[in-house]
């Protein structure tokens, strides 16, 4: 398990951890290659791929133009013909520009063709609010990956998971949407150096044990939920914080077991609350643990609005630590 291993490991930033995973997997398997806007010479607009181009060259690290349908579609074609592309869209939002390629070709090609072909690829998707990049560069769209069968969906919330989940994604024979939070690129944490360090898909991790209520949080909401939990700890409210780490596959066992213990659940994500991943998780919790629930399952997510371009205003749209604490406090009081 990542966390156990992680604690003795050297400290590394989330972006560097991703960089390490890419370099290690490209060294391990020469079928692995990269493509995207500015991922080569520049090392990525967020610096995530620095040094990869220098080590592996222009053949395996390809800078593209403004052609999102090409980036994803060509990756699909290259994946079904013997290579393992790790494509990057500069912003996760751009999945919608290549929607046919992501949600139809990547997700369905194998099935439509009788399982005779497979599409082993990873689509790297810098996601979430960054500060001033606005309505079309700040979205959290992971829920879409759950609604289109055929994809797997990972969203690491720590540097260790960023590395371990990406390595697992690259080795997975299925197409994977890899949502890396661009607001967390500089966050540091212990990251194992072992080149065989992998974080399995479909295994949620309990970030904090507690008995008062279960908080299911993803991405940037994991640290915020943990902060909220610390604050409430002082009030004698002990939140159990669970990070699913992958939404497809989704580890409901761990979540349900926790809810059966606490009797209360709050699901928190940065994505728009309406029809977000939290709706599915909440619906499944009450399907599986209805008679163990002492209160309705609650959800926090972004408001039904756009992310304003203003860096000051955008934080008002997504859940903050205080909001999480307030909601949990109220939920526990029911």
């Amino acid at each position: 398990m990542s966390d156990a291993t992680a604690t003795e490991a050297p400290m590394l930033g989330y972006a560097r951890a991703i960089n390490q995973a890419l370099a290690e997997e490209m060294r391990r398997d020469e079928r692995v290659w990269m493509m995207g806007q500015d991922v080569g010479r520049m090392g990525g607009v967020f610096g995530v791929t620095r040094g990869i181009y220098e080590e592996f060259g222009a053949g395996r690290v390809r800078d593209t133009s403004l052609n999102e349908t090409f980036i994803v579609g060509a990756a699909v074609g290259a994946a079904m013909t013997g290579t393992i592309p790790v494509a990057e869209l500069q912003f996760a939002d751009f999945m919608m520009i290549a929607g046919d390629e992501v949600f139809h070709k990547m997700a369905k090609w194998r099935y439509m063709h009788g399982g005779k072909l497979s599409v082993p690829m990873v689509l790297r998707l810098p996601t979430g609010v960054l500060g001033g990049v606005g309505a079309e560069h700040s979205q959290s769209l992971e829920a879409l990956g759950m609604h289109f069968p055929g994809l797997k969906v990972a969203l690491p919330a720590t540097p260790a998971d960023a590395k371990g989940l990406l390595k697992t994604a690259i080795r997975d024979p299925n197409p994977v949407l890899f949502f890396e939070h661009k607001g967390m690129y500089r966050v540091k944490g212990p990251v194992p150096e072992d080149p065989e360090f992998l974080v399995p898909f479909g295994e949620a991790v309990v970030r904090r044990a507690g008995t008062s209520a279960t908080v299911v949080a993803t991405g940037l909401m994991v640290p915020r939920a943990l902060e909220a939990a610390e604050a409430l700890g002082a009030e004698g409210i002990e939140l159990e914080v669970i990070d699913p780490r992958t939404l497809v596959p989704l580890d409901m066992e761990t979540i349900v077991a926790s809810v059966e213990k606490t009797g209360r659940a709050l699901v928190v994500h940065e994505a728009v609350r309406t029809a977000g991943a939290g709706a599915e998780i909440a619906a499944r919790i009450q399907e599986a643990a209805f008679f163990a629930l002492d209160a309705p399952v609650w959800r926090l997510g972004a408001l039904d609005t756009q992310i304003p371009q203003s860096p000051d205003l955008e934080q008002l749209v997504i859940p903050g630590t205080d909001e999480i604490a307030a909601a949990a406090r109220e939920l526990v009081a029911i």
Partner: protein, 311 residues
């Protein structure tokens, strides 16, 4: 492939076309069948220029592409009728998906024009793995309007990907005539924008199509990049079998093929009438036998609907 074999493939495709027309008129059809009647010369001619291991992304206009690449009519009809013997295990239906990795038949997207970007990707892997394989991508005049063509063509040209784009310009995108879709007289006129050769051939002349494609394939294999081939033809039938074509004045409801590729090939390859007739006869027999075999196949097991979503 010699002229006789080329003629045979054109004839085999034609036999399937006519047989399916008759069958659907009598019995109807569950999915959608997009007849390729009259376009057989392009499909057989272009594929004749490919190596067995070259990649093929076909279009929706019939079964000719995959048949010419070597897939059996039994497999293709089984896919068409959604039977177990098909290459997609009974999930098929209509002219959309069939596949044969060994023969490089990599499939098709239901969203017309999605082949452009996927095909470019197959070209990247051929380039990276050094297999010197070439990717043939078929599409129609309508599909050429997709942004995916533009995005793929620009980068494919700069990266010198081993692609051959074969446009079957039959003058129509369902009910919309080419004049309403293209500001230029020819689709090939767009090639210059991508710095690639644009070649126009008579789509009714299978030999001409083969020649043009051979040149493009050699160019691609030599690392000189993509070529855009436009084969002029006519859509004889409706967009799909059953389309009344109310929007159309230029052609009737018939089955006659003006400038029939079979007739032109008989003449250009100087194939003795008796021999050609015999080949046509064999082709009809093959098609009928294949259909009979397929109709006798069991329906797929219901469990297949959830198989193959994930590995």
């Amino acid at each position: 492939m010699n002229e006789l074999d080329l003629y045979r493939n054109v004839s085999r495709i034609r036999a399937l076309e006519l047989l399916l027309h008759r069958y659907i008129e009598e019995h109807g059809f569950g999915g959608f069948w997009h007849p390729g009647l009259g376009q057989e010369g392009i499909q057989a001619g272009a594929v004749a220029a490919l190596r067995e291991d070259d990649y093929l992304f076909y279009a929706h206009r019939g079964l000719g592409y995959a048949l010419a690449k070597g897939m059996s009519p039994v497999t293709l009809l089984a896919d068409l009728f959604g039977r177990t013997g098909g290459s997609v295990g009974g999930k098929g239906g209509g002219t959309v998906h069939f596949v044969d990795p060994e023969l490089g038949v990599l499939g098709q997207g239901g969203t017309v024009g999605s082949n452009f970007v996927l095909g470019a990707g197959a070209g990247i892997s051929a380039q990276m793995l050094g297999t010197d394989k070439v990717v043939a991508i078929f599409f129609g005049d309508g599909a050429a309007a997709r942004g995916t063509f533009h995005e793929a063509a620009l980068t494919a040209s700069v990266w010198k990907l081993p692609l051959v784009w074969i446009c079957e310009n039959n003058g129509w995108a369902i009910s919309v005539p080419i004049e309403a879709q293209s500001p230029t007289a020819n689709i090939a006129d767009r090639a210059a924008a991508y710095g690639v050769p644009g070649v126009i051939v008579d789509g009714q002349d299978a030999l001409a199509v083969r020649e043009a494609t051979l040149e493009a394939v050699d160019r691609a294999r030599a690392g000189e990049g993509p070529t855009l081939i436009e084969a002029k033809t006519t859509r004889i039938r409706g967009h799909y079998e059953g389309d009344k074509q109310s929007y159309r004045e230029d052609l009737g409801e018939g089955l006659e093929v003006p400038r029939d590729p079979l007739a032109i090939l008989r003449e250009r390859a100087a194939i003795p009438a008796a021999e050609a007739d015999r080949i046509d006869e064999e082709a009809r027999a093959e098609a009928e036998a294949a259909l009979a075999e397929v109709l006798a196949m069991p329906e797929p097991d219901p469990d297949v609907v959830t198989e193959g979503v994930w590995v």
